[in-house]
Symmetry: C2
Subunit: 320 residues, 2 copies
Amino acid sequence: MSAALLNRLKPAVSVAIRPWSCKPPRIEPSSAASARLYSGLMEPGAPLFRQLFESESSTYTYLLADTDTGEAVLIDPVLETVDRDLQLITELGLTLKVACKHQVFLLSCLLGDACEFRSFAGHSTALDDDDDDDDDDDGLFSAVNTHCHADHITGSGLLKKKVFGLKSAISRHSGAAADLLLSEGDRIRFGKHSLTVRETPGHTDGCVTYVTEDERMAFTGDALLIRGCGRTDFQQGSAQRLYESVHQKIFSLPGHCFVYPAHDYKGQSVSTVEEEKKFNPRLTKTLHEFVSIMNNLKLPKPQKIDISVPANLVCGLHDI
Amino acid sequence: MSAALLNRLKPAVSVAIRPWSCKPPRIEPSSAASARLYSGLMEPGAPLFRQLFESESSTYTYLLADTDTGEAVLIDPVLETVDRDLQLITELGLTLKVACKHQVFLLSCLLGDACEFRSFAGHSTALDDDDDDDDDDDGLFSAVNTHCHADHITGSGLLKKKVFGLKSAISRHSGAAADLLLSEGDRIRFGKHSLTVRETPGHTDGCVTYVTEDERMAFTGDALLIRGCGRTDFQQGSAQRLYESVHQKIFSLPGHCFVYPAHDYKGQSVSTVEEEKKFNPRLTKTLHEFVSIMNNLKLPKPQKIDISVPANLVCGLHDI
């Protein structure tokens, strides 16, 4: 695949929501203390949180859920670890619904045609539009991608095959197919919690950062990595846009906000906004210095780019 | 190395404490909110917490620290990632002191002789003996191993070379050399926090689990893994002892207590006591069934056992 063609490809992200049908055995909270049983944050009322890793692509997948309602969001699922993630979701008593969906955007994207994308269904049930008339829904499962990955194949398509009602979500600037096309400020709700979308382009046009409502956790995709950042030399990459995105949309968050990236290659699991503002070797530089650094990285092409980018434009379902 | 010889080897663990000399730049907390800046637990007063990973041996290293005093504990450091861990410790403003130590137990252990071990120095400053006359110390760095690893080389020896005053700690039943030889109920203090030792033999004689004082986090080593457990077919392994250790010393913790293992091979980062009591495929079985499972695993020898076990008996310093 040529660089010119790659530059015309739009990046993809995928999310899904508000499903469940067969209810797996659920561990019921029986007291205020046990309501926190599975909360990675340990605070009363905090969402359940799990960080999961796929070692071949060094990708982090994040599970967040409301422990009262069982509604869950999965950020950046990876094809190879879908079964692991679904088993955990089942064991934790989150209620899911199996679904199938097909996308037809691959060919026109590959050819660089103008692609018109639409929300397939349920936009109002996925995003926070104060539509509370869906109270008959007692569970939720969302799969959210931060951008169209060139280094791994997203698991959203396979998840949608396995989980009825699952909806995929991605930035509307990504050029990818998804149930929910996200814009700046959109909120993805799961129970009493939500993730707010901040558009953070630069690695790709469609990169977004998801921020919890208390601004304690930011899922930064490839825009901001721990002591690093995503490359900007393919897929509509722009060092200047990335620099502005990180400084305006991520470094403006509280210093104690945890930074959870889409990847890490050194065994690091989390950072904070304050740490990255002080110690990130690239983004502490001036814009001019940053652009110079990024334009001279001379990185090899990602291992899976030829299959990952096209596959991710259709939610990762690739000859399955 | 023969199985008979391995069976005579004693397993090792390593910890260290109460050092610092040159003070790296530190990020000062300036308010109640910022005091939580680097706390992985997000609660006021909770210790700083970081989970770190070494991919070759799939080993987790854990950093805990008191954000007020800068005193830190490192659980299960790995040789290959010592520099990464020290850089993070420096950036986070923890105060360290470089130290060197030598051990001479390797030969007699290899020969199966009765080894007599002793605490080299500073036992009273490492363990909680209500000795508060060391208030002139304003920093701490401890490296703690949960047991003598056969699958990776501990980084404690190299850390002691690089961090003056660092002390290593390990179970006194491990047969390994360390500054602090730990027993059931011992407490490793770091600032206002501490880890309590629970002896959990079975994978090795010297396996211990470290539990925070609020019983919200248990660092279980290889005794209890996420949906698994350590093997029991070498290094004094005993399936029955492991079963009893986990049930008596770990499953007796609160259900919401987080389980942080020494290894994970599937990209999982954390579990809880309640989850493992419900879903661990081995330890939910009866003792008889568990022993039968463990005796029929037919696992290959760990990749690094020939070099890891002897090296770890002397704190991992192996021809460096």
